[in-house]
């Protein structure tokens, strides 16, 4: 038995564990070992969602928790369909969880206007309620309580009060109270479960009411191209099915334009145009759409989007229905069914084949009828196992084909009646009876969003949201943005199996994220006008990864992350480093506070993907100190390494006019190359001190600095700009494209990594790719990345000068540590490591590790 417990009442009353209603509900969840329990919580009260979830988890009951977000109550007084619409949405949401029994727990003194609790206004399901400790305080919900099939009182006094004040039927009531006030709710819970079982047994499955208009026979719109008439050789199957369905339905034929020069065939049924059908659709009880792969059906997808109905699928691939006039049309169609993957791989020309662009048709259909199991196989092959599972596979040649089709259509209609389509239909009916301005009221916007969230449209794949908020606004060409672009490019072309990668962004101005569709299309070279940026549609099982670093923005989206988590979306962040916290003196005054606030939000969520094990270790230390409860709660800590191939990282291009001369000079002697923005922690001042002492001792080595000026480096910048060795033994190249950098790596003798702290150290692996030897400060992260393939130095300028001398000596004897054998990843491999570190649940996932270790995924 599947018990869906609506816990909204106890959830809202603080100290919920102390009320009897809460105690009984919790005890039922704990005692229902042989049953499946789902807990429903009200997402508007986010703090209490977490509290209630934790409470049930601590009981060991472990029910599945579903959080829903009811629309706010309407602000306007007067007659309105809105309050009833909220109640119907509540019932539709509970019904969507497929309960055998719905059990609603009320709390004492529950505000009447808040919870749209409802029984028997829309969906029919066996329903029981747990009365509040003081039942008369639930008067506002008396109507719902009276309609329930069973009610539980948590004390004899409460039972008596319920009978006296709420006018309940005594025969439906049960006492579920501990004996002698013992406070042990396990026995009452067992009695209650026995009661629920008996209610389930007694509940005769009732078919949802069919809304049949104007007579005993349902009216059907048969939407198909002409000709279709009995005996017509061109469409014998369709004609005979039509004749058989006509035994059950009053049928109107709806058709697109009749080919010019042809007359509509004589027909036993009225022939209607598509325009007529649009205006009269609500007069029909059933709509049957025929769909084949020819232009004659081209109008059907748009019609199906407006007017729900059952699809009879004659062909699987519907590419002829996709408007092919412009690239934007093709992009839009491909994206809807497959995301960016087919677009990202076809920069030179966007082709539809082999990708079938039919998902929207399947998603919008109330049901799909096919005449071959092959169509189901194809649907599952392209869109996953859940697609096609509910389709009706019928034998068109069977003697009872007509009856089979009627049963399938009625089955689909019955399911739709208590789902999204039926709800919209029912509410529209209520609206049409309410005051004229009602449907234009602003609360209906929120209602539409709440309905879409509660009863989500199917998606062809789960979504992997990648936060690119910074990149959408500007490409400041930092190392982090290079990482974002490199990973994004690979992920868009090669998403994890079963997922579609969706770049998303937020702004300071409003709560919530939007799809970065225009940015993404531009990023992969597709026409940007094909898609719009809209707010996210969240689904259980989606995953969000904060890939871009936006420490100011993320805390402002804190509530949205919580909403995502409550909606069943896993939320994780890429952590590049903790440097503003660990090296506070090297950053501006507020950087540590900003970074700490950002880390606090990261810690509230589900996990972090660190760009090195060293960062993962630092983060673990930080969590142990600042948020140990998150570690105890299973916060995921994973690490992956970055890629080294600049040419596959959406590189910037361009060389300055003096590039050839500079490169020749760099290549002509011993040149030590420092790569990265000039900022305090990078060690430029230390390097300059060391090289000045070397130069004064007659050492001819050059120091080449590639990177623009950052913050808090005015002194060292002045020193470098005015240095007497500038252009001789000191070079500062402030504007270096990726293309130029590649050539500098090739020309230099050694990479100098003097930084006091790094999250990873991209220049190390980029050097290794160019077989450029490495002289690095002895940091854990550099040891992790370069291992024995570099020479290391400790702390001071004197130590660095000595290390440079040592390196030059070793180099002369060809005894310096070469970087040739240093392992590094390409961006493609890095993206693979990133995907493995995410450990996305998927069918037959061999990459899912059981040990939960935080080892770099590519090393495991």
């Amino acid at each position: 038995m599947r018990i869906v417990i609506d816990y909204h009442g106890p959830q809202r009353s603080r100290g919920s564990g102390s009320t009897h209603a809460a105690s009984l509900a919790q005890a039922i969840a704990r005692a229902a070992l042989d049953h499946e329990v789902t807990l429903v919580l009200d997402g508007r009260f986010a703090d209490s969602v977490d509290e209630a979830s934790a409470r049930f988890a601590s009981l060991g009951a472990g029910p599945e928790v579903r959080v829903w977000h009811p629309p706010q109550q309407g602000a306007r007084p007067g007659p309105s369909a809105y309050p009833l619409a909220r109640k119907k949405l509540y019932e539709a949401f509970i019904a969507s969880l497929r309960p055998d029994i719905a059990l609603i727990a009320f709390a004492a003194a529950e505000p009447t206007d808040e919870a749209p609790v409802s029984v028997g206004n829309f969906a029919t399901m066996p329903t029981a309620v747990i009365l509040p400790d003081v039942p008369r305080t639930a008067r506002a919900h008396a109507d719902a309580i009276r309609r329930a099939d069973m009610w539980f009182a948590t004390s004899e006094a409460a039972r008596q009060e319920a009978l006296a004040h709420l006018g309940l039927d005594a025969a439906r009531g049960r006492l579920a109270a501990p004996k002698d006030g013992s406070g042990d709710w396990s026995a009452p819970a067992r009695w209650a479960i026995e009661g629920l079982e008996s209610l389930r047994r007694a509940s005769i499955p009732r078919a949802p009411p069919l809304s049949i208009s104007g007579g005993s026979r349902p009216r059907m719109a048969w939407v198909s191209p002409l000709p279709v008439a009995p005996g017509d050789s061109a469409d014998n199957d369709g004609a005979s099915l039509l004749a058989e369905l006509a035994s059950h339905y009053d049928i109107d034929l709806v058709t697109g334009a009749v080919p010019s020069g042809e007359q509509p065939p004589a027909s036993a049924w009225p022939i209607r145009s598509v325009e007529w059908f649009r205006e009269h659709a609500c007069a029909f009880d059933r709509v049957l759409y025929h769909l084949g792969n020819s232009a004659a059906y081209a109008h059907v997808p748009a019609l199906l989007d407006e007017i729900p109905g059952v699809v009879l699928l004659h062909e699987f691939d519907l590419d002829c229905l996709v408007p092919a006039a412009t690239a934007a049309d093709r992009v839009s169609a491909l994206y809807a069914s497959h995301g960016y993957a087919p677009l990202a791989g076809h920069r030179e020309g966007i082709a539809r084949r082999p990708y079938p662009c039919n998902f929207d048709v399947f998603a919008q259909a109330q049901g799909v009828i096919v005449h071959s199991p092959r169509f189901v196989e194809l649907a599952q092959q392209w869109f996953g196992d859940s697609m096609g599972r509910g389709w009706a596979v019928l034998d068109a040649d069977s003697p009872q084909a007509g009856l089979d089709h009627i049963q399938a259509i009625e089955g689909f209609a019955a399911a739709a009646a208590i789902g999204r389509d039926g709800l919209i239909q029912s509410i529209a009916e209520d609206q049409s009876r309410s005051e004229p301005a009602d449907e234009a009221a602003p609360e209906w916007l929120e209602f539409a969003q709440a309905l879409a969230d509660a009863l989500p449209d199917p998606m062809p794949q789960a979504q992997l949201f990648i936060d690119v908020s910074e990149l959408v606004q500007r490409d400041s060409k930092t190392g982090i943005q290079r990482v974002v672009k490199s990973l994004l490019q690979v992920l868009l072309e090669d998403p994890p199996p079963g997922y579609r990668v969706e770049p998303v962004y937020a702004t300071d101005q409003r709560l919530g994220y939007r799809y970065a569709r225009k940015f993404s299309l531009g990023f992969i070279g597709a026409p940007q006008d094909a898609l719009e940026d809209t707010p996210l549609d969240l689904r259980r099982g989606d995953v969000f990864v904060g890939l871009d670093l936006q420490p100011h923005l993320i805390p402002r989206q804190r509530d949205f992350f919580r909403r995502m988590r409550h909606s069943g979306v896993r939320v994780e962040f890429v952590v590049y480093d903790l440097l503003p916290i660990l090296l506070t003196h090297r950053f501006s005054r507020d950087a540590a506070a900003v970074h700490s606030r950002w880390l606090e939000v990261v810690a509230e969520n589900d996990g972090a993907l660190c760009i090195s094990q060293a960062v993962a270790n630092e983060l673990a230390d930080w969590l142990a100190k600042h948020a140990p409860e998150r570690l105890a709660a299973g916060f995921r800590l994973q690490a992956f390494h970055l890629g080294a191939d600049l040419h596959n990282s959406a590189p910037t291009r361009g060389l300055p006019s003096d590039a050839d001369e500079t490169l020749r000079t760099v290549a002509s002697g011993s040149s030590f190359l420092m790569v990265g923005t000039v900022e305090p922690r990078k060690g430029h001042a230390l390097a300059l001190d060391a090289f000045e002492s070397l130069w004064s001792a007659g050492v001819q080595a050059r120091l080449v600095v590639a990177g623009k000026q950052g913050w808090m480096v005015d002194d060292v910048a002045r020193r470098m700009r005015n240095h007497p060795e500038r252009g001789q033994r000191l070079f500062w190249l402030e504007q270096v494209s990726d293309e130029y950098l590649e050539q500098l790596y090739a020309a230099a003798s050694c990479l100098l990594a003097a930084s006091e702290g790094e999250g990873f150290g991209l220049p190390l692996i980029e050097s290794a790719r160019h077989r450029l030897p490495i002289l690095a400060r002895d940091l854990p992260v550099f040891q992790e990345v370069a291992g024995p393939h570099a020479l290391y130095f400790e702390g001071s300028a004197a130590a660095l000068a000595a290390a440079v001398r040592e390196w030059l000596n070793l180099f002369e004897q060809r005894l310096h540590p070469p970087s040739d054998a240093m392992p590094y990843l390409t961006w493609k491999q890095s993206a693979q490591a990133f995907k493995s570190a995410l450990r996305l649940p998927q069918k037959g996932d061999a990459a899912t590790h059981a040990d939960g270790s935080a080892a770099p995924a590519h090393l495991s």
């Binding site: 629309p71 009269h280 529209a428 449907e439 602003p442 916007l445 929120e446 707010p535």
Partner: protein, 89 residues
């Protein structure tokens, strides 16, 4: 961050702290709750924190373009069906 931004953030922070206390009370009192909701509409910058406490939606929806793709479809269908039904009454 500019001086103006810093000042604005500090001011909003102060007001939030004051109203945070009010909102915690409001969360338990229907009358105060209604007042807090009106305040939210008047001062959008207070939305996330206060909204969380009083259980109001902090996702402000003012036009159909604020809706997700799926909700836009719901909204479209609702309006279309409502118009059709009105025409057939």
């Amino acid at each position: 961050m500019s001086f103006a931004q810093t000042l604005r953030q500090a001011l909003v922070g102060q007001v939030k702290r004051i109203l945070g206390g009010t909102a915690r009370l409001a969360a338990r009192q229907p009358l105060l709750r209604r007042g807090a909701k009106r305040l939210l509409q008047a001062v959008p910058a207070l939305q996330p924190r206060v909204a969380r406490l009083v259980g109001a939606s902090s996702l402000r929806l003012t036009s159909a373009s604020d809706l997700s793709t799926s909700a836009q479809r719901v909204h479209r269908r609702l309006r279309r069906q409502q118009a059709c039904r009105k025409a057939h009454r």
